[in-house]
Subunit: 260 residues, 2 copies
């Protein structure tokens, strides 16, 4: 089975041109097919501030109103996506930049919640594996912005971690997939305050043990649950670590490797 | 030879949601493969104003400075491109939205001009026919935003009419191509002030005759010269007319049809 790496990066690397350049160089040197999913970064927030668009909140949660959707579509699917693609072409990584509306790739629905209206936020229904496979076969790399559509003409703002997970799961039917989450920490930490307490390997029984011990800190719990869900759906392994250490992360020499 | 329609729309249809919806419905009903090239519209200008970015002018020409490039990339390749794609999916026209950086499709260079520095404006070097063909074969329609790249990581703002022409020419090696320019007038007019004076058919000798007579008004002359250039490069026919009359325009029942 051919290998595919699905890698998600967040704001910490997107907002730092030097870090992004180094990351893209490492990314382009990965052997085999690759998918890069990028989150937003600070530009969208800065643009909204400059345009005087107030962040709408409801019960402590951020709302994607019409103006915010416009901005995230522009910034994520336009500015960030196209700049990443142009930089990849410059280092001979033939890539194509898309969002979930393109090629009808990722269909979602507006989040239904009786208590809170999150606005134009999409929960993923499905990833069209056939279309994705065609794109992967035709290009060195696919760069995906976290915007989906509802199939009725409406774009939706969608969590980039979720898009990475759903994409990896969809691809695992046809490829041996590793799903890589790059973030600001060196991996899953035993002690959230100590960067040196990185857990090298994790399997379900160790995860359950740590959960019982109360050793998994808040923000990490859903990330790990999603990781195990992806593995159960056929993803070969999940790695969590730092974008500036991508090469060693992919070799299992840094970060956390999660397997069943 | 399979037929491909390359259609360019401008701000007058992009800025009008109802007109755009009608246009996209007509566009999706065109038989055979299709490429849609969209210009900008007023949103980019409005965004620049709201962000307090002053339009830089030099010797009467608009300059694409760094901030303006950021805005046009966001608006053209992000907001407009993705909204068009989402609307096309909704009417079952399986499309993919890209810019010239994607798939390394359209390489350009920063315009060289000793007298005026136009900023980040790109003149097209080449269109990668092989990549374009792959995309065309894999999708019902390709939607192209007028942003190109220089192959060194730099995005460039590029004239949408030129992109349409270059794309049509590149495709004419493999397909029977009609190139369609939609604009606000019903076609090439004998009298610029009289919408009823539309010229139905034009060939090189009639064009030369009209030029000698001084009957071609200023803005139309380069458009027509480009049209004849495209025909000489292998494009089958060029049509010029109104976006709201796309169906009749494609049948030659409205607008101007230009052939060798």
């Amino acid at each position: 089975m051919e290998k595919v790496s699905v890698i998600k990066i967040g704001g910490n690397v997107i907002d730092d041109p030097k870090a992004l350049k180094k990351f893209l160089k490492d990314f382009s040197s990965i052997k085999g097919k690759k998918v890069l999913i990028h989150g937003g970064g600070k530009l969208a927030t800065r643009m909204a501030e400059q345009l005087g668009i107030e962040q709408q909140m409801n019960a402590g949660r951020r709302i994607t109103d019409e103006e915010t959707l416009k901005i995230v579509t522009m910034v994520y699917a336009g500015y960030i996506n196209k700049n990443i693609v142009a930089q990849l072409q410059a280092i001979d990584c033939k890539s194509i930049g898309i969002c979930g509306a393109d090629a009808n790739l990722i269909k979602a629905h507006k989040r239904k919640n009786a208590a809170v209206d999150y606005g134009y936020v999409g929960d993923v229904d499905n990833v069209k594996t056939k279309q994705l496979k065609k794109l992967i076969d035709a290009h060195d790399a696919i760069v995906i912005a976290p915007i989906t559509h509802d199939g009725k003409g409406q774009l939706l703002n969608t969590n980039a971690d979720t898009i990475a997970q759903e994409t990896a799961q969809a691809l695992s039917k046809s490829y041996k997939v590793q799903l890589v989450y790059c973030f600001e920490k060196p991996g899953v930490l035993l002690d959230a305050a100590d960067d040196k307490s990185c857990i090298k390997k994790m399997n379900p029984s160790y995860f359950n043990f740590l959960v019982k011990e109360g050793a998994i800190y808040d923000g990490m719990l859903p990330k790990l649950q999603n990781a195990f869900h992806a593995l159960e759906k056929g993803v070969d392994k999940v790695r969590i670590g730092q974008s500036n250490a991508l090469k060693s992360l992919l070799k299992g020499q840094s970060g956390t490797t999660i397997k069943l």
